[in-house]
Amino acid sequence: MKRFIVLLMGIVLTLSLAACGGSKLPTQTTETQATDGANQETTSTGGGELAESLTINISNGNNQRTITYNQATPLTYPDGTVYNQGDLKPVWKYIQDKLGIELKDVAIQDQTSKEMMDLNAATNFEDAVVYGGSIGEDVMSYGAQGYFVDLSKRLDAMPNVKAYMEANPDAAAAATAYDGGMYHLPYVHPIGYYSRMFIGRDQWVMGLLDSADALVDETETLQVAYEGYWDRNATNVVDLQNAAASGGKLTREVALQVLLDYIKATYPDLAKPSDLYLGVGAKYDIDELVALWRVVKLSPNTLSKLTTGNVVDGAVISPFFVRAAGNREDIIRLANYFGGQRAFGTDSYGSKWYLDANGELEYSYDDEGMLEAYDYMKQLYSEGLIHSEFSDKTNKDDFRTSMFGMDQNEGQKQFGFMIYEWVASTTAANPTVVAMLPPVTTLGGSSEFVHFVENTRVIKAEGWAISAASTEEEINAALKLFDYMYTEEGNVVQNFGIPGNLEESETFEGPDGTQFPKFNQWFMDSALELKNNDISAFLRDFIGAILPIGYQASIGYEYQNTVNRGWESWDIYLGAGVITPNYEAEDPLLKLIPPIFSLTEQDKAKLATTSIDETTVDQIFLYITGADTALKSKEDILKLFTDSGVATYEQVYQEAYKRMAQ
């Protein structure tokens, strides 16, 4: 009997091993597919047969950001049309009716783009015709292997896309893989507009610096650690504060008096001390900002009274904070103001690349300048000038809401001073906050001090693509859908929603005179009721617009979301001519890099031997926050990068960039 059972188990084991691992798509199939793709691509789809339905998988790790309405509350449009959970969102129902093609959402709830691509690669991308989300890099790689339709050979079937790509060669280049194919259409921001700004409470600056009337006694002290960076003036305010600190401990009275004396001596022409920091004429550097942050940190009684009308017992002030722990790498952007050290080459935390003066792609996180900046950030954190919980990713709180948006809540004790964030939504969160110019800094080899923000609007890594496993009719239908987004009507629908939520005969005039479709009152009321006036979230989650798919985004919806002191903020940045990187810059240091790199299979195999990842970033934040397990020195950080294979990592991306640049 024992032998029988052993035999049985042996057979089971053999069968299970034999049954395992067989790919549904052996190499032969891949080649056949590629060939099929090539055959298809020589055939013009203009006027070709269209499939009656399209399966679409747009995955962003958020079940509310698909084409299906996933809200428990039904949405009733002014004309009585009701959208219930499980229906297509208004925009996608409208497109379906307009194109006469049934749209079927096959996205799996809350699946991330990465998970979607990995899982669907295992089934030859047969589960949907259209794939969307943050897929650019994967699609370039799989596309070159024949898994996605080369759209560059189908441009005749998409006249509007063709016209757009001809007019926007940067977008075309960003979507082109190493083999010359274009396998996805990218999501393109309204390029040329400011995106994120330093936004703070000017009321606090004036209250602290311009008069002693608002000052309340303070008991807080601060142990100084930061020693200053610049020597552009006769004296350095941080040096002066440190020298005045008794036993290294700074009080509000001392910190404030030193700062006021310094401003008076250094900038005698200023009408009032706060002018150093506020408005279009601001000219402070990072040291002067730190000196102000210290005063702010040391003034919880004064500032809580200025904000709420009463001194809040136990109030905690965070001079600088990020929107949420997920945005912790915004702290790294402070490096820009220590001599112009670059951190990110495009609008993505993953893009830790920039071009040096010779046009060579450089990895920023292990630069000598960045290693120094980590030390400065560590010192600022130890002084309490950076929010203590900014890097705790287990904390899911929205700090922008808790520090800017709850001033008048009973029992509110947390108040933030300054954030680097999107202008419209941040100024909407608090009627008193307004943009402050970035600290002045030098850039590259220049000795001129300029206002510079690294983050700007770019061509994104998101977009959508068509599976080559689709039938010709399905591909034709998908091409029609793709092209529709580049028509005037399609662009309006994707940016602003459907006619039912727009004014019929009225437009919205932007500050430069541009006319945009205007949201109607029903839309504004609904956004307020259902999404607390977060227009962009309402558009995405309820209306189905501005999803990360291939289209040109408009600044118009953001303008209409601009309230309170948002316009004033735009004016300050425009008035001061704050410099941002762009695609056309002649100086390589100011040139935006592509949102994604087209990697070959060999590249990917090399990258698999490196470990530059989120865990490496964790180590840097441990260093900044001084955790007990943190690396102890800059040399340790450098060694971490070396051991993680940064040389290979850098080489792979440098070669990929060279291929793309060619």
Partner: protein
């Protein structure tokens, strides 16, 4: 030839008869066999991924064979520090669980067995079982709230520890590597003590009351009852449970770890399974994740074989 065929036929008939005569027992074991096929043997084919440069589009068989390259990257290459740290943590967390977590359900079972009032005992047992039925997400959510120590709000436990001077003001328990293992063990003990005590309680209940009566007649007290009757009576169960526990020493459940840990606590919290999750699923490097998991499984296999052998030699009680 004919004779041999006849012999074989006879054997088959004989096995068939044995199976038929006990078919009810075989029917009972069938679901278990199916479970093993589907969840234990079928996935074994995936081990091949550890030796391949796995690409989802090519599948396991068609991805390039890379020999031991993934193991070298893991143990000597760019991931070496993370991997060995995870390996050490897995071993230590499990060892601490064995030292601190293993005896407590036994003590609980002993205490339950000494409660005279059956209704009170059942109520107590039910209360201690309850945390077992809460999901890890609920448990960790509760723990994170209790030990949270933010700029403004403080959890009850953090507040208590600060007020008695056990931790300095402002200590963020969940952010400090030194607190992770105690937090993990205490949470585990609270969650599983009651449920784990069932098997020991059953073992105690199966001890013949005549043995206790005999000891009483000999003048034995309560502690002597435990020492000379209860423990020897529980011994086979204890040995088997400890062998199983040793076999699982490198199989620390990843759910609670992933829900409780963060970048600050990787140095004490990251275990092989959370490492595999991060590398294999989050970063999509399935080959490396597979290699790490395979290494883990091989060590676990060796440990259970070793424990079983030692147990057989020392106590004559073993799994096989």
């Amino acid at each position: 030839m004919k004779l041999s065929t006849k012999k074989q036929d006879y054997k088959v008939i004989r096995y068939a008869k044995i199976i038929l005569s006990d078919w009810r027992l075989y029917a009972l074991v069938l679901p278990i066999i199916l479970w093993y096929i589907v969840y234990a043997y079928k996935p074994m084919g995936g081990l091949l991924i550890a030796f391949k440069n796995f690409q989802p589009n090519l599948g396991v068989m068609d991805s390039d064979f890379v020999g031991l390259s993934n193991f070298i990257t893991l143990m000597q290459g760019a991931y070496a520090e993370q991997f060995w740290s995870a390996f050490r943590n897995t071993f230590l967390i499990s060892l601490y669980g064995l030292i601190f977590g293993f005896p407590i359900p036994i003590i609980a079972a002993l205490l339950f067995s000494e409660i005279g009032n059956a209704t009170f005992r059942r109520v107590m047992q039910t209360i201690t079982y309850l945390p077992h039925f809460l999901s890890e997400v609920t448990i960790t959510g509760l723990v994170l709230t209790l030990v949270y120590n933010g700029e403004v709000n403080t959890g009850v436990i953090a507040h208590f520890l600060m007020s008695i001077g056990a931790i300095p003001e402002g200590t963020q328990i969940i952010q400090q590597a030194a607190f992770f293992r105690p937090l993990y063990q205490i949470t585990g003990i609270w969650k599983e003590t009651g449920y784990s005590s069932i098997v020991y309680f059953a073992a105690i209940m199966s001890i013949s009351p005549t043995l206790y009566e005999a000891l009483k007649v000999d003048g034995g007290n309560k502690f002597q009852e435990i020492r000379f009757v209860t423990f020897p009576g529980m011994a086979p169960t204890l040995v088997i449970m400890i062998i199983l526990r040793i076999g699982n020493i490198l199989s620390v459940g990843y759910e609670r770890i992933i829900l409780l840990y963060n970048g600050n606590t990787y140095s004490t919290a990251d275990v092989i399974s959370s490492f595999v999750y991060r590398i294999g699923l989050e970063q999509g490097n399935q080959s490396l994740g597979s290699a790490a998991d395979m290494f883990n499984a091989l060590i676990g296999f060796a440990l259970v074989m070793g424990a079983n052998y030692i147990s057989r030699q020392v106590s004559e009680t073993s799994l096989w």
